[in-house]
């Protein structure tokens, strides 16, 4: 039973690591600032969720699990708001300089 739980926790940690890797690969490969933000927000959100869930399973204590949930929610909040502010800034900078960032050729 405990072995099964540990295996499940380890699996969650691995999944989390995979999504962080995917987010970073996207950050490097995607063509412009706005597309890169897609990779960072979405992949890292689920990456952190899996890692928090895995750690909570390993801790096996309700308080620690709730603490990890709180950490995830705060990180989520910070990530989405800052992604929005960065996207906004890069969009307005692009407008100011006359170029169009992150737009498909219309």
């Amino acid at each position: 039973m405990s072995l099964l739980l540990d295996a499940f926790a380890a699996l969650l940690l691995l999944i989390g690591a995979f999504f962080y890797l995917a987010g970073t690969v996207g950050l490097i490969r995607f063509p412009d600032a706005l597309s890169r933000l897609h990779a960072l927000t979405k992949a890292d959100n689920i990456g952190l969720l899996s890692i928090c869930a895995g750690s909570a399973l390993m801790a096996g204590e309700l308080r620690v699990a709730l603490l990890l949930l709180l950490i995830w929610l705060m990180a989520l909040f910070a990530a989405t708001v800052s992604a929005h502010l960065i996207a906004r800034r890069s969009l307005r900078d692009a407008e100011d300089s006359g170029a169009d960032a992150g737009k498909s050729p219309s």
């Binding site: 999504f19 897609h38 689920i46 990456g47 603490l67 909040f77 989405t80 996207a87 969009l91 992150g102």
Partner: protein, 162 residues
């Protein structure tokens, strides 16, 4: 301060005590109460009264929607990142915002970035038009679905469908 604001401050107080319990356990509840009271008074000082409120019994439905969609979003973006041909077609769409100012609108702007293929790029100063950056097909439907879910969560419409 009207009764709704008072009720809200009370809810914030309870939530903050809960946060304290998560952080510190039961050891020094009195300090926690003092901290929560200070935090709640900060809320009273800063908050702007709003005419709507979150329907707590509708929260599980929203959380489920959010979890499923954000996992889909992450898988989608991971697939695109690892795909040799890098299949992303960036596009910018404008989308009208029907949600009122405050929490519902903040929720829309934050959560839209976690759904598959959409990212909130800019909200104009009166909050009526949201620029959404998309890397996949049908971003309109995603925004509309999310708006309906949030409106339902806050009791602004009677059904969670657009």
């Amino acid at each position: 301060m009207n009764r709704l604001s008072l009720l809200r401050a009370g809810i914030v107080l309870v939530l903050l005590v809960l946060v304290w319990l998560i952080l510190d356990g039961l050891d020094s509840l009195l300090t926690g109460l003092v901290a929560a009271v200070i935090g709640a008074s900060l809320f009273v000082l800063l908050h702007v009264p709003r005419p709507y409120h979150l329907r707590i019994w509708r929260l599980p439905r929203f959380v489920l929607f959010f979890l499923v969609e954000s996992v889909r979003g992450a898988v989608d973006v991971a697939w695109r990142a690892f795909h040799p041909a890098l299949p992303i077609v960036p596009a910018m769409i404008d989308h009208g915002v029907e949600l009122p100012a405050g929490q519902p609108r903040m929720l829309l702007v934050s959560v839209i970035s976690l759904l598959p293929g959409t990212l909130s790029a800019d909200l104009d100063s009166d909050g009526k038009m949201l620029k959404v950056h998309a890397i996949s097909e049908d971003p309109d439907i995603a925004v509309r679905t999310l708006q309906a879910q949030i409106a339902y969560l806050y009791g602004l419409i009677g059904t969670p469908r657009p």
